[in-house]
């Protein structure tokens, strides 16, 4: 196995007196889907927001392609090729698909927005992801279905030659068909060589698309394993108690 695309070591993060992440280690390989699982409040979203530069980490190492980096803002993360599709969708309802995909990184010619180029690139990106469900890229995002919005959010993330795409519960609000669609898209990203992190509570989804599973338990990384090496039941156990047989955290006290 080559150098991981993303490697985190000993990440700590507190909100005031509450320590949400404790000595977290996490690696992500290119060309793979890594599922990040854990109970509600385990700290998955917080970990992702730390990776994305929304929250500063208190301490720990953050490496991209083996190189130590420091990420202080969403811009820093984007510069490193890290793109995040947030649980609480970060789209502007009052803008159209193209405008959302290029938000904050608009193409310009001189002072003027280069709308034709942006529209063309957006269409091409959607086409390259075999997205056929949106009528027009000039549609307002408010008029899209949940699955379509998720698709736009994902397309936005891959527009930027990103190396790592992180999806926080992309299928949580979707129906069966739309979930399948989004999962297929997720798999396609990894097959295109991107590193993908997928957060999900749905074990079927996790086992359907992931190559590796990382389980967070109460802010600590319980285990990171190959999907083919574990069963549903073991993963559920890791999520609910932090341990499963030989896998997972050691007994209380020895862990820290």
């Amino acid at each position: 196995m080559g150098t991981p695309l993303l490697e985190l070591r000993g990440i700590n993060k507190s909100f005031g007196p509450v320590q949400v992440l404790r000595d977290v280690a996490f690696t992500v390989q290119p060309g793979e889907v890594t599922a990040l699982v854990g109970d509600n409040g385990a700290g998955k979203s917080t970990l992702v927001k730390c990776i994305g530069g929304i929250y500063p980490i208190d301490s720990g190492d953050y490496l991209i392609e083996g190189k130590q980096v420091s990420v202080h803002s969403p811009r820093d993360a984007a510069q490193l090729g890290v793109e995040i599709v947030y649980q609480d969708l970060a789209l502007c309802d009052n803008l159209d698909i193209v405008q959302n995909m290029f938000l904050g990184r608009e193409r310009r010619s001189g002072m003027i927005l280069d709308e034709p180029t942006m529209e063309q690139l957006a269409s091409e990106t959607l086409a390259s992801l075999s997205v056929r469900t949106v009528k027009s890229v000039r549609q307002q995002v408010s008029s899209l279905s949940g699955g379509q919005r998720q698709t736009v959010a994902i397309a936005k993330a891959v527009l930027w030659n990103s190396k790592l795409v992180i999806l926080d519960e992309p299928t949580a609000a979707l129906g069966v068909a739309q979930t399948a669609q989004v999962l297929e898209l997720v798999r396609r990203l990894a097959d295109n060589g991107l590193a993908v992190v997928l957060i999900s509570h749905n074990m079927n989804d996790v086992f359907a698309v992931s190559d590796r599973i990382a389980a967070l338990y109460l802010g600590r990384m319980a285990a990171q394993v190959k999907t083919t090496d574990v069963t549903h039941a073991q993963v559920v156990e890791l999520i609910t108690s932090g341990r499963s047989g030989a896998l997972g955290l050691a007994e209380e006290g020895a862990a820290a």
């Binding site: 994305g52 929304i54 803002s73 969403p74 811009r75 984007a78 995040i84 947030y86 609480d88 969708l89 970060a90 789209l91 502007c92 309802d93 009052n94 803008l95 405008q99 938000l103 904050g104 990184r105 608009e106 310009r108 002072m111 003027i112 927005l113 034709p116 180029t117 529209e119 063309q120 269409s123 959607l126 086409a127 056929r132 469900t133 949106v134 009528k135 027009s136 890229v137 408010s142 008029s143 899209l144 279905s145 699955g147 379509q148 069966v176 068909a177 739309q178 399948a180 669609q181 999962l183 297929e184 798999r187 359907a208 698309v209």
Partner: protein, 418 residues
């Protein structure tokens, strides 16, 4: 994964999704309106209805002299409303914009009349005052985190006092500078009026054609040529009609000629162009909409949200300063009431009637112009009909509520149809 990859209702390839022809275009427009995106429709309908109602009640309403009056009367409200659009786009409000224009007008009058500076120094001082006020309001809202409603309500009181203080507890300073006075009281020669009309229409047509050609060249969906032609011809007819009326002789005194397009019209036109360009064609404008639509999404996209918010207040207060200059020009003087009483209410109403949402994220600078015309027609028409102030206040309040209801209604429609 054995996935069902199609949503039957929307599974259409991007290229195949074009609604062909004029009918398709009209159907699309109908859908938009029913979905709550009514654009300029309510304001345009309002203008037509008002013309009919007041025209029937008082035929003088529809005469050339009254039309010219209406335009000069609308000037200050329209300009202040243009600035308010920026603040409203963020979902904020500036209740102090009226008295900001008063303060700036007082600064102008003091510079011109008390100190005898030339007009451009006075205007620069007024604009600088507006800019500083905007910075202060924006800082308090964006950095200190006080709701804009409270900040600008406090400023509303504070600036009312400031005007009094600047005018030594209520003296009236007259403004005699000919350049300032001309803004609201002079007219273009008929030839210049026609020239400007031609430049406007040809410029608009050129921009439209270049845009459509660029899109076609890139293989993107362009508007139907019929639609483009309709827009250009529509503008030409509108502008031509207006100039033809305004170039009629309005003076009853044979020794004295009064005709031409009021100077305020090209002034408002230039401001409209400038701010429309900023909002629709620059990244800054895009970011204003983004912050108004979803502040957190904007932040995550790397947009400096605080800076955008402060800048919107700066634009609003600076435009209020321009409005103050126009108020001073209109009254040929500045007194403690300049920018007071109804000015703010009219300006907010203008923006909202034009279609700018009070909830943020939706609005255009053109809304300020259309809504400002509606509001001014109501005021002007009620004056001609001879209604008392009591009824005028009540009617204006009702109109503002109506506009806000249309806004709330279209928002609900938009939410329901998504």
């Amino acid at each position: 994964m054995s996935a069902v990859t199609k949503e039957p209702a929307t599974a259409v390839a991007p290229q195949a999704a074009r609604d062909e022809g004029i009918l398709g275009y009209l159907r699309g427009y109908g859908q938009k309106v029913r979905g709550g995106d009514m654009g300029a429709l309510p304001a345009v309908l309002g203008l037509l209805v008002l013309c009919v109602v007041f025209g029937l009640a008082r035929p003088v309403f529809l005469t050339a002299p009254n039309f010219a009056n209406l335009l000069t009367q609308a000037g200050p409200v329209v300009v202040i409303a243009m600035g308010l659009v920026f603040v409203l786009l963020l979902g904020e409000i500036d209740l102090s914009a009226g008295y900001t224009s008063g303060v700036c007008a007082a600064v102008l009058a003091i510079m011109l009349t008390t100190h005898g500076y030339p007009w451009y120094v006075g205007v620069a001082a007024a604009l600088a005052t507006g800019l500083v006020i905007g910075l202060l309001l924006g800082f308090l809202v964006a950095k200190v985190g006080i709701p804009s409603f409270v900040v600008t309500l406090a400023a509303f009181l504070g600036f009312q006092g400031t005007v009094l203080w600047l005018l030594d507890e209520g003296t009236n300073i007259s403004v005699r500078d000919s350049v300032i006075i001309s803004l609201e009281n002079e007219y273009l020669s008929p030839a210049v009026g026609w020239g400007l009309a031609a430049v406007t229409v040809l410029g608009f047509a050129a921009v439209q054609l270049i845009q459509q050609r660029n899109r076609r060249r890139r293989g993107l969906k362009a508007d139907l040529w019929q639609v483009v032609a309709f827009r250009v011809i529509g503008l030409a007819v509108l502008v031509g009609f207006a100039v033809a009326i305004l170039n009629q002789e309005r003076s009853r005194n044979p020794l004295f000629s009064l005709k031409g397009v009021p100077i305020i019209v090209p002034v408002v036109g230039v401001l409209l162009l400038l701010w429309t360009f900023v909002l629709r064609r620059t990244a800054y404008g895009r970011h204003i909409y983004a912050v108004g639509g979803n502040k957190e999404a904007a932040r995550r996209a790397g947009i400096a949200v605080d800076r955008i918010r402060i800048s919107a207040f700066v634009i609003c207060s600076s435009m209020a300063a321009v409005g103050g200059v126009l108020l001073a020009s209109q009254a040929r003087s500045v007194d403690p009431n300049t920018g007071g009483s109804n000015v703010l209410l009219y300006a907010v109403a203008a923006a909202v009637i034009g279609g700018t949402s009070l909830f943020g994220g939706k609005g255009r600078v053109l809304d300020a112009v259309l809504g400002g015309l509606v509001i001014t027609m109501i005021i002007n028409g009620m004056g001609l009909v001879g209604w008392s102030s009591a009824y005028k206040y009540i009617a204006t309040g009702v109109v503002l509520l109506l506009a806000a209801s249309v806004d709330a209604f279209s928002r609900r429609r938009a939410a329901a149809s998504s």
